[in-house]
Amino acid sequence: MLLWIAGFIILLVKLTIVLGVVLFLAGYLVWVERKFLARLQVRLGPNRAGPFGLLQPLADIVKMLTKEDTVPDGADRAFFLLAPAVVALTALLMFSVVPFGKDITVLGQRVPLVITDLNIGLLFVFAMSSLSVYGVALGGWASNNKYGLLGGIRGAAQMISYELALGLSLVPIVMLAHSFSIVDIVGAQQKYPFILYQPLAFLIFVISAMAESKRIPFDLPEAENELVAGYHTEYSGMRFGLFFLGEYVHMMVFGGLLAVLFLGGWRGPFLPPVVWLLIKIFLVALFMIWVRGTLPRLRYDQLMTLGWKVLIPLALINILVTGAVGLM
């Protein structure tokens, strides 16, 4: 019993550290994005709060906490208030299957450096990313705003379409690793990272994961020059902040998944595993910001064409080829 309590305290400390680091990095990812995007557009970006604007995330949090939390007339109150929490929570939960190192030993017990090693880890990620559709669709629908509604249904259709390509592109990874567990998938990449075996799956995964996180060039649900802000038009204060937090945590989760599924996870020479994982996440995030600064937004029919007529057939053919090669 005493050991159980000690273990529980260790678990609490571990989980709190992970949650804190994820939230801290998501906050600073906003800063990195604003600064890097500003440089790409020949601006300075935030530079008032602290040196180089480094205290900007703190200032943003203070501002969002002290702003009024408005609910528009005729809104469906319960769904309106709940939707941002759904988006933020599912994004945070998705991070729980990403392993960040080998097991360490504390008090003579093995403490795994992963929050949860489910044997269906990959399916858990799909489930959580499907659930976040509810936050978007309900948030847009409940706010009694035409732009919100349009953003919400666009978001729902886009996310379910690209989820198919996302799921099918990862089938070859499961075939190579013989497991849905993310820890086992990282373990299977001991020799070579999977990007060398599966460049096509990598490409499909990157495109559809960017569509899942609703970023430029796939930001149709919140296209600001046609829909004001899409599904989060009516949100203010911390609820808007939670949508934002969800988006940036989602960006980190995407970086983490890309790292563990294709880039060898926490493996790398010289530096400790956690540092390698963070470096990979950071590089993926930089890539996404760069894409945002470079590409224009797709039209809706182009979005659907890309998803259904290009990515899904390619992913299916990739499965067939991988199966044939694997059985040779």
């Binding site: 273990g7 933020a88 090693d117 044997n119």
Partner: protein, 131 residues
């Protein structure tokens, strides 16, 4: 592959217990943010402020429209392909044990799926236009 049931309540295993504790922590964080926002935030209601924002124009009528039909089509295609995706995923984990017989059956299935996709493509189900 570790079964989830092993040491389900042990804090030293990265199982469901750990996930539940993490979920509770994440929920507590979100609840604390919303509580702080409700406590510290401004509270001045006015009819102008609570009107839905439609670029400064007074909104006409409710925003509960019926969804356009193409979105339903996408939803139906998604249902079909997602169920089949689940089928493919279960095969993927054991495809080496099932050997060539399993591969032949699965490739027949996937080719059938592709044929279905090309059929709705030719029928214009994937073209984004007003029906």
């Amino acid at each position: 592959m570790r079964p989830v049931a092993v040491g389900a309540m042990s804090p030293f295993h990265a199982g469901v217990f750990s996930l539940v504790v993490f979920t509770v922590l994440a929920m507590l964080f979100i609840a604390s943010q919303l509580f702080l926002a409700a406590w510290l935030g401004e509270k001045k209601k006015s009819p102008e402020k609570s009107r839905p924002y439609e670029c400064g124009i007074i909104p006409t009528g409710s925003a509960r429209f019926r969804y356009p039909v193409p979105f339903y089509l996408v939803a139906i295609f998604f249902l079909i392909f997602d169920v089949e995706g689940a089928f493919i995923l279960t095969w993927a984990a054991v495809y080496r044990e099932m050997g060539f017989a399993g591969y032949a059956q699965m490739s027949f299935f996937i080719v059938l799926l592709l044929a279905g996709l090309f059929y709705i493509w030719k029928q214009g189900g994937l073209d984004w236009k007003e029906p």
